[in-house]
Assembly symmetry: C2
DNA sequence: TAGGTTTGTTTCAAACTTGAACCAAGCCTG
DNA sequence: CAGGCTTGGTTCAAGTTTGAAACAAACCTA
């Protein structure tokens, strides 16, 4: 089949999107590096942990939520642990398991950095979009993400319900 | 002033967006790494060059179009040059200048990889969006990008027209 | 035109990411 | 319960990114 090239509208949208996402991530990384001494992803790790039951999560669950590889997460967690912002704990139900638990220091860092981060996201993103556009962005993003997460490995809906691999905090 | 936290709608949109952009970039990087042996950014460098007059561009102009730092570009161009996909040339009008020029090999690689790349972008993105959403995505992206590019250094509109630092290909 | 500032680019070390390989522990199935 | 497959996590080397510092050439301006 001959290639279905992008239409001019699609080209424009694609280029605009690529540019915007690059610029936005860069700006957010810079802000957080400045104010919290860590890149966006690392901040997100702390943030996700802070909202999890008992402020702890298994590595795989964490990686899944953040949409990153386990290897990448291992590296990041090692750094954050060195900084004392989280602690690794053993999982008592599964000896292979490793749990990342936010420390008080970690929570404090998050707490201090959150206002600045939110302000940045707001001023760079939401202040520039109408309410309608916020909804559109969510829908578009959800559509994209959905396509990229069809696990392929996940059983059909009438199959065994997807077994939770671990209790939320496994302890 | 007390922090204006994100509304639930904004939270959802933000998280969906972050997840989607991560997943999408990853998928595209993987595809291009597979099929062209280089990450998305490197492919974009070749692509931008291929559309420029004489298939060449000054480093700074290239960096500006791609929204990346000059340092990042230097590294990437060095690699691509080693691979023989582009060549660095001196700029005769400005001895500081360096020009990246696409080689025939570079063009050939691009040519071979383009259909697969487009197919990927299409299937992961455009096939999942309505025509309307494509327009929305462009507008949203443009709004974001605009906010992030107000150079601050750029002169006011009634000032001297922004001097082009280099002719398109400077040769 | 000398001296100072700006611009274009590279360099360097430190940090981060990638993907494949590895190891251990859990989970079968015969 | 043994062998074999799967899952959870880390390790390692190679590749990439970052940001500050270094240079050199160009551009003032007195």
């Amino acid at each position: 089949m001959t290639t279905r090239w992008l239409t001019p509208e699609e080209q424009r949208a694609w280029r605009a999107y690529v540019a915007a996402s690059l610029l936005l991530e860069d700006a957010i990384d810079r802000q957080l590096q400045q104010d919290a001494g860590m890149p966006h992803l690392y901040y997100s790790i702390l943030s996700v942990l802070s909202e999890s039951p008992e402020r702890r999560l298994r590595m795989t669950d964490l990686a899944e939520r953040l949409k990153i590889t386990r290897s990448r997460l291992t590296y990041a967690v090692t750094r954050l642990e060195k900084d004392g912002l989280l602690r690794r704990e053993a999982c008592r139900y599964d000896k292979r398991g490793s749990i990342a638990a936010l420390t008080d220091d970690g929570f404090a860092v998050l707490d201090r950095a959150a206002p600045g981060h939110v302000e940045t996201v707001r001023s760079l993103l939401f202040d520039r979009l109408s309410e309608e556009q916020v909804g559109q962005l969510e829908e578009i993003s959800a559509a994209i993400a959905q396509g990229l997460q069809e696990d392929g490995a996940r059983p059909a809906s009438d199959d065994v319900p997807w077994r939770r691999r671990s209790s939320p905090a496994c302890s």
